[in-house]
């Protein structure tokens, strides 16, 4: 299959959906001629022009509010917030407006919109440009939260998100943009709310999101060599959650480790641990492990950043703790 950069998969998804549906348009900071800080809209300004690829002022409340307003009158806007850290600037619009209008209005609001953003550490961008805040949004009824870990899913899930009638927060990862992996040129969709078993195994289930998927697959390779068989699951969508795929796996392997780049406390992994510890209670042979970032803001120093962000070895250690006890 053709190999493509994760960031180009985003461009391709946007391009295909804009071609397909005139009501789809893009807005965000420096997404037009500049093509976006991470080049995820490269070429689209040339192709679709300034009406449908709109540079906004630096005003995140304005961007998200405008996105919602346009959706309410029947457009399908796709907004870009340059860093997930900046969702904090637009939090009122995202949480009190976008997520709630349908419900508050008794179901009659049109809210087909996507807010694209990217998170994660690894580039020494320090505390305000490297957070992983997905659990905030999973906590808010009315939002869907999608987090692709590879080019194939990035394209297929973004297309599904744009077609979805509900607001979707689509979270990319800054370190994945330059990773190349397979994704067909032809039209395809990846459904929202369906997890994928990325690797089958029998000794332990590892649920990993975004950048941790690759790290977990690498960890699984190494663990194979010492005779530990790891099943790796990528939920892809944090909400709606494909609980069954995860629980089925846990009931098979009897062990669970959850790993993400967000800090552990009140992270999304806590929810998965709470669900599994209850719904697979009689199947668990060992305590559920969480491999997450250490509980600090993200430091600038690469050495420290690398220390607080979970890596392959942390996953390996966690698996060993769980399997070997």
């Amino acid at each position: 299959m053709r190999e493509i950069l994760y960031r180009d998969a985003i461009v391709e998804a946007l391009d295909e959906e804009m071609k397909r549906d005139k009501s789809v348009f893009l807005l965000g900071e420096d997404i037009a001629e500049f093509g976006g800080s991470y080049k995820t809209t490269a070429g689209l300004f040339k192709k679709y022009g300034k009406e449908r690829v709109r540079n906004t002022p630096i005003s995140e409340q304005g961007i998200v509010g405008a996105t919602l307003g346009a959706a309410l009158v029947g457009m399908k806007p796709v907004a870009e917030l340059m860093y997930i850290d900046f969702t904090a600037v637009a939090m009122d619009q995202i949480v009190n407006q976008v997520a709630k209008v349908r419900y508050m209005f008794g179901g009659k609001a049109k809210t087909s919109l996507v807010i694209r953003t990217q998170g994660g550490a690894g580039r020494s961008s320090a505390a305000q440009h490297a957070q992983s805040l997905e659990s905030w949004f999973v906590h808010i009824p009315g939002l869907k939260v999608v987090m692709p870990s590879c080019s194939y899913d990035a394209k297929g899930l973004l297309k599904s998100s744009i077609r979805d009638p509900d607001p979707v927060l689509f979270i990319e990862h800054k370190l994945l943009y330059l990773e190349k992996n397979p994704a067909p040129k032809k039209e395809y969709l990846v459904p929202i709310g369906v997890a994928e078993v990325k690797r089958e195994g029998t000794d332990i289930t590892v649920v990993a999101t975004s950048s941790m998927v690759k790290k977990s697959l690498d960890a699984a390779e190494e663990l194979e060599e010492i005779g530990i068989s790891v099943e790796v699951i990528d939920p892809k969508t944090l909400f709606p959650l494909d609980k069954e795929t995860i629980l089925t796996s846990v009931r098979k392997t009897n062990r669970l480790l959850i790993t993400h780049e967000a800090v552990e406390r009140c992270g999304w992994g806590a929810e998965i641990a709470a669900i599994a510890s209850k719904e697979a209670f009689d199947y668990l042979d060992a305590p559920i492990e969480r491999v997450a970032a250490k509980e600090t803001p993200v430091p600038f120093s690469p050495k420290l950043e690398n220390f607080i962000i979970p890596n392959k070895d942390d996953v390996i250690e966690g698996v060993k703790r769980t399997v070997l006890g």
Binding site: G65, L72, V73, M75, M104
Partner: protein, 323 residues
């Protein structure tokens, strides 16, 4: 001499009465303990919504505020759906899930009251963007208060609308108070219209107690928006005759003191005089109107009372399109 037609003048007068009577009745019901939640009454400000919405079609959109009943009625929402919503009934505009602060109706172009001060302003800009991209000639009117003009959302929303020349009219209902706080304690400008300078758009002070002033100024601004010339900021100087919310004595910072002077220029009273001068209405015209309105209100309240409450399962619906 204002160029208003008799038809429009009578529409405005009737609409102001419809708002006044709706608010009086809902306050009455609330005080009797029949309505849950809390209410922010529009009484005293009727000229603003009425003088503006007379220019709007059902396809034009508005965003509103916590003090939104007047905007809704002026935009054509019916009493039954509104009272039912205040009663939290299934037949309400939001099936009882929204209440006073979240009434909305997409058919009639109401993008919602809003419980977040200033929250509707960027949404209004976005709706205007949508209407522009759809190549319509429709416009958006965005209502908010003096207090809201200090929120970041005000700045971001208007900056976006002015940069993109969007078809939206921003209407600041300056009633001199943000909850208890007098304007001079929450900003250093006296004319909020001056803030238009920050966006290089027209900023105009209107007399919010005078329907004709509102009519003329809004007419211009809406024409401007429809013709693609971009947004206008209108500041309507007005006053709520009651406290911030129903039950608020309004004694802080002497709101209760200043109100008296404003009641003397009650827009309904002064506009009735104008209509009589013009010989556009007979002496008993108002009484007749009020009788009809009261009857409609009584019917609507009865309808609301007799309407079913939502079922428990309704609480779990409308969170997502498929739920």
């Amino acid at each position: 001499m204002p160029t208003i037609t008799k038809k429009n003048a009578l529409w405005i007068f009737k609409t102001m009465l419809r708002i006044r009577r709706f608010e009086e009745s809902s306050i009455d019901l609330f005080t009797k303990g029949e309505l849950p939640g809390f209410l922010h009454a529009y009484i005293g400000e009727e000229a603003v919504a009425s003088g503006i919405c007379v220019h709007l079609t059902p396809r034009d959109q508005i965003t509103s505020t916590h003090r939104g009943h007047g905007h809704m009625i002026a935009k054509g929402l019916h009493y039954k759906g509104m009272f039912s919503e205040l009663y939290a009934k299934q037949t309400g505009y939001c099936k009882g899930k929204g209440g006073s602060m979240h009434i909305a109706d997409q058919e009639l172009g109401v993008l919602g009251a809003n419980g977040i001060v200033g929250g509707g302003i960027p949404i209004a800009a976005g709706a205007a963007l949508g209407l522009k991209l759809q190549k319509t000639k429709d416009v958006v009117v965005c209502f908010f208060g003096d207090g809201a003009s200090n929120e970041g959302a005000f700045h971001e929303g208007i900056n976006l609308a002015s940069t993109w020349k969007l078809p939206v009219v921003f209407v600041c209902e300056n009633n001199g108070f943000a909850e208890s706080t007098p304007q001079k304690n929450h900003q250093s400008v006296s004319d909020i219209a001056d803030r238009a300078t920050s966006y290089n758009i027209p900023g105009i002070v209107a007399d919010g107690m005078d329907p004709l002033s509102m009519y003329e100024i809004a007419g211009e601004a809406i024409k401007r928006a429809r013709s693609g010339k971009g947004p206008t900021l209108i500041e309507a100087k007005t006053m709520r005759f009651l406290g911030h919310y129903v039950g608020d004595p309004g004694t802080a910072y002497g709101h209760d003191k200043v109100v008296g002077k404003w009641k003397k220029i009650d827009p309904i009273v002064t506009f009735e005089d104008f209509l009589k001068q013009k010989k556009w209405i007979a002496d008993d015209h108002k009484e007749k109107l009020v009788i009809d309105i009261n009857q409609e209100i009584d019917e609507a309240i009865l309808y609301a009372k007799e309407s079913p409450e939502p079922d428990l399962e309704d609480a779990l619906e409308d969170v997502y399109s498929d739920s």
